[in-house]
Symmetry: C2
Subunit: 233 residues, 2 copies
DNA sequence: AGCCTTTTACTGGTTAACCAATTATTGAAT
DNA sequence: ATTCAATAATTGGTTAACCAGTAAAAGGCT
């Protein structure tokens, strides 16, 4: 198994070049929102790359909402204007692999908020699911087994209960990177699982009591060691 | 790859079915981290779908870090364990279109933090770029033109100065949805551009002075109207 | 048997041909 | 000249064939 999952490959470089060329094309031709891009075939010929490479680049720009492909019709510039478009493409091209510190910093930010929101919005059904996740975690720890997964699922259950689909998505996006880096840097070794149980219980208790500030504070306590470790590397 | 942020299509439904079947397969065959999935051809035959559909589903799971494709070798289950894997796939399948409220709520959370971090970490180069973005915004407003794009780019410049690549990426992801909904609900009409200039200037001033708390507060002030509007719908 | 080379089959990725739907063009009828 | 139906060209999406590299199997050698 390859440990470093998110390695930058040769095709990533090609894709960035294509994206850059598409941007130049939009600027040079003064394409405005709603205007049609040249067809995939024309682009692949003009840029001297395969059509599938062009398609991938277009799909990436579609992901960021900058282009809009319509079957049997064409690919169109999104309705956000050429200035914002240039700025965003520049940012997308500049984006590189997120470092561990960046991931943890974002995770803490998100989770302090989801804990707070969960305390405000959790349904009885949410409570059941969080309790189940916590029980699974507790059992594993008491058996002396590795409970990183159950730990994680408890936090995702909170994110679910927060009732914010965007934050929920973002939590899912950063989770694998967090796990990978935890294993790489042996973060879990520095945390006492038994302490983790009490901290989790305190968080759930606050959410159960619909006490948002307490939930946030208990989550903060839970992240204290991670926080210090993160800023020490 | 397409995230569920935008419109849901027919092929998205097919993709979710395939993801669901891959999950069942992993469970039924008791595949563990590092184990190899059947080949794309076998999966497409077994599920009675095209190979490209299978590839897209695998790429989505790869995006969330659950699978790992190695050329000329195979697709492998990531190193996160079957329990977390099941939980995350369940979450991914459940994800639906984020509502406007969810987007704004997340944006405010992110931007209060990026403003704070930018005040702590901004380089002289960052200051120049933020100032340029602000000037472009100011000029447009003074000419009576629509300055939504320049507004946006100023905020993205702050996110860049915050020095957190994950938050930067997340800002880019939510921005198109924010713009689309702004136009849909005519949010901009409710904001006075001239007031916006002063608010932007105050934010930049705080970042320039390396005053994180002031930067956060000024950003909060800037979002006040949006915040109220968001929670009123 | 054990080791090493050679061969074979299989893998994800790439390319090219094909498809159905849309759009542009044509041209006759009014 | 205008309108509108028929046709041709073009589009993104799909499928199937192909490629290069890997991993396993086979087979000869000691």
């Amino acid at each position: 198994m390859k440990l470093d999952i998110h390695t930058i490959t040769e095709s990533d470089i090609i894709q960035k070049e294509i994206i850059s060329k598409i941007r130049d094309l939009i600027n040079h031709k003064n394409l405005e929102p709603g205007d049609k891009l040249p067809s995939e075939r024309q682009l692949s010929e003009r840029f001297d790359v395969s059509r599938s490479n062009v398609r991938e680049a277009i799909q990436k720009l579609e992901f960021y909402g900058l282009l809009n492909s319509i079957p049997q019709s064409g690919t169109f510039v999104a309705n956000i204007g050429v200035i914002a478009l240039n700025g965003m493409i520049e940012d997308i091209l500049r984006l590189d692999e997120p470092d561990f510190k960046s991931l943890v910093e974002t995770r803490i930010l998100l989770e302090l908020k989801t804990a707070r929101l969960a305390a405000l919005r959790r349904t009885p059904e949410d409570l059941v699911q969080m309790q189940e996740a916590l029980d699974a975690y507790t059992n594993k720890v008491h058996n002396g087994e590795n409970a990183v997964q159950e730990d994680l699922l408890f936090h995702l259950a909170i994110a679910k209960a927060a009732g914010n689909s965007t934050m929920n998505t973002f939590m899912l996006i950063i989770t694998p990177g967090i796990i990978t880096n935890f294993e790489k840097y042996h973060v879990c070794d520095k945390n006492q699982p038994v302490i983790g149980i009490k901290e989790h219980e305190a968080i759930l208790e606050a959410i159960k009591n619909k006490d948002p500030e307490a939930a946030k504070q208990k989550m903060k306590d839970h992240f204290k060691i991670l926080y210090q470790y993160c800023y020490s590397i």
